[in-house]
């Protein structure tokens, strides 16, 4: 079945108990997101751009400028790991400010980074100087092409473009401390900043997406995670502008622009400060940034969370005794620094608490570049083995054997992306026009 609409219908029916055929990855994700029980607990494709580049041994100065290479590498690496869906993004926080002239740091083996020492916005007058975003500038055309190719090559409800949401873009343009001072001390300036991002930057970007046929775009907003912002500040600033952009895009462009992803994500770093009430306040606001009602976890120190709290929240938000779906996100550093046995044990614990009645989706909150591939393969295998429905009453009796997989290069031979990736490794600076 290669028709995404049919796959989604299959997922919905399967999750309601109509078991026929083998659900595809997309069907699993849709079934899991609808709160139902699939054949296994699904594994959502994580943000993986710099890890995928590292696995595929590609030069950063080409990878982050070439939409086709970026998309093909994501799809190949995602398939090698066996994720149930793909997420294709690049350094999502940089594209707009880079196109507006922010000073950037480029490197041979890492993603582009904004030079925080030279902020784009120092004062209110800079907003007039900067003017609206020209979508032909910088790597904006590459972002648009990435979204278009992603939709073409891996169609589905979460395929599309990416952008940097309002608050994170303000932080990227002027630095987080100055952005905080604006919202706490100078609401007039803060409003001007949010209006500028919405009307002068994001709307022109979304119009360019729409012209290219990209009908979905997700806006990342990690700078709005807790404790960078409190849930109250997210309610006051982030959500109204996310709503405004969504409504404008829907009305004017017939496009779905979902801003505010990861806003209010509970990212308390110190386990001794974990606080159930604050976590619930964050989750309650975080839910509002999703198109579907899910109990979200993303980048937090989830390896130390008490997952019964997350379940309790999902039950509280549900109806008729049924919890809302949960995205259970493995922390990126945990994935990088743990042993395979620790990863298996963590997933067994989570599936036991969260997954027995369906509606659980496993995820990784951004895979660090240097994560051992064995760890990712182990996580996917453990999720699909321990999370095989009906889930064993005693998960300690289920043995997760080490994953068997071929090295990436050996596996890649014969795959549709092989030529693009192998050829890209021969690239040397100067052969392709990049601004770096």
């Amino acid at each position: 079945m290669a028709n995404p609409t049919l796959e989604m219908i299959h997922g919905l029916l399967y999750s309601k108990g109509l078991h026929f055929g083998h659900p595809s990855g997309l069907a699993r994700i849709v079934g899991g997101m609808s709160g139902g029980m699939m054949d296994v607990v699904p594994f959502l494709g994580p943000q993986i751009h710099d890890h995928a580049m590292t696995v595929a041994k590609l030069p950063a100065r080409l990878y982050y400028w070439d939409a086709s290479l970026l998309v093909d590498t994501h799809l190949a690496v995602d398939r090698w790991y066996g994720f149930d869906s793909d997420t294709v993004v690049a350094d999502a926080y940089n594209f707009e400010v880079e196109a507006l002239g922010a000073k950037m740091i480029y490197s041979d083996n890492a993603m582009p980074t904004v030079d925080v020492g030279s902020p784009l916005i120092k004062q209110a007058a800079d907003l007039d100087r900067l003017g609206p975003l020209d979508p032909s500038k910088g790597r904006i055309p590459m972002a648009i092409e990435t979204g278009r190719l992603f939709m073409k090559k891996a169609p589905g409800p979460i395929s599309g473009g990416f952008f940097c949401s309002h608050w994170s873009m303000i932080c990227q343009a002027m630095g987080y401390p100055k952005a905080v001072r604006a919202i706490k001390r100078d609401k007039g300036f803060a409003t001007a900043l949010f209006d500028w991002v919405n009307d002068q930057v994001l709307l022109p970007f979304m119009r360019a997406y729409a012209r290219a046929g990209v009908k979905n775009a997700n806006g990342a907003d990690a700078w709005a995670a807790f404790p960078n912002l409190t849930p109250e500040l997210v309610e006051e600033w982030v959500l109204p502008y996310a709503r405004k952009l969504r409504e404008q895009c829907k009305k004017e462009l017939k496009m779905n622009a979902a801003a505010g992803a990861a806003a209010a994500d509970y990212c308390e770093e110190d386990p001794s400060k974990f606080d159930k009430e604050m976590m619930f306040r964050c989750l309650a606001v975080g839910v509002k940034t999703f198109p579907l009602k899910v109990a979200p976890s993303a980048m937090g120190r989830t390896q130390d969370w008490n997952m019964t709290w997350l379940r309790e929240f999902a039950e509280k938000e549900g109806k008729n005794g049924k919890k809302i779906p949960i995205t259970a996100s493995l922390n990126g550093r945990f994935m990088r620094d743990s042993t395979p046995d620790q990863i298996v044990a963590k997933l067994a614990q989570w599936i036991d608490i969260l997954g027995r009645d369906g509606g659980m989706i496993v995820f990784i909150g951004n895979v660090p570049a240097d994560t051992p591939p064995l760890n990712i393969h182990t996580a996917v295998k453990a999720t699909h083995t321990l999370g095989h429905y009906p889930i064993s009453a005693d998960l300690s009796t289920i043995k997760v054997s080490p994953p068997a997989y071929r090295p990436f290069d050996e596996w890649l031979k014969g795959q549709p992306e092989a030529e693009v990736i192998f050829k890209a490794r021969e690239w040397k600076p100067g052969r392709t026009a990049v601004v770096a």
Partner: protein, 216 residues
């Protein structure tokens, strides 16, 4: 006088930088000793903000404003503290929070402690790239460089900063201290630091030990 210092403390806790600076000027004009203003007003205020942060009553935006007020209060105070020490030799301490990290409060506390102990502190701020630490060592020739981080992701930057100092041939000229919530003595040893500051007070004590005892 007590009211003045209590008001100063409150201004810092509430992140009112204008009021904090004004109250320091007023206290100095009233003849209060600079070290009393520092310890009973400024340090007490930033300590209180730290307690609220630890108790989940304050969050990063509140902490940033409290740190702003702290810095505003220190501006008129520092020259007076220096002057009160006369011609006694001082050691320089370059301090910064490593790249990617915006947490200012711990650093502000450490600066207050070091200043009261007589160090001349060069504050590089937050989110400091590797090369700025290198430049600061070349420019200021400090006795000690202090690297801070609040997050387990960003603390890994410390190793890179120390590596960069080694690469530039500067490591042997300077002592290095690391500190911040996720750090530990083991981590300090692992990255090759000379000392780990568990908290602001211990950082000051260890800094004094590194430069050969009390001074100032």
């Amino acid at each position: 006088m007590t009211d003045q210092l209590a008001d100063l403390q409150k201004a810092i806790v509430e992140g009112d930088d204008t009021q904090a600076a004004r109250l320091v000027e007023a206290a100095l004009a009233h003849g209060l000793p600079a070290l009393d203003i520092l310890n009973k007003g400024v340090v007490a205020g930033i300590n209180k903000a730290g307690e609220l942060w630890a108790a989940n009553k304050y969050f990063l935006p509140d902490v940033i404003l409290a740190a702003d007020a702290f810095k505003a209060a220190m501006l008129p105070l520092e020259p007076r503290i220096k002057a009160s020490r006369g011609a006694q030799p001082t050691h320089k301490f370059v301090i910064g929070v490593v790249q990617g990290d915006m947490h200012d409060l711990g650093k502000s506390l450490v600066i207050a402690m070091l200043t009261s102990a007589g160090f001349e502190v060069v504050d590089l701020g937050i989110d400091v790239p590797h090369d700025r630490f290198v430049q600061a060592v070349q420019q200021h020739q400090p006795a000690i460089v202090g690297l801070g981080a609040y997050m387990s992701t960003t603390m890994l930057e410390m190793k890179d900063v120390i590596g960069e100092l080694k690469k530039q041939g500067l490591r042997e000229r300077v002592k290095i201290m690391v500190g911040g919530v996720p750090t530990s003595q083991e981590f300090a040893d692992e990255v090759g630091a000379d000392a780990w500051g568990k908290d602001a007070l211990q950082t000051m004590q260890k800094a004094l030990a590194l430069v050969g005892g009390s001074h100032g």
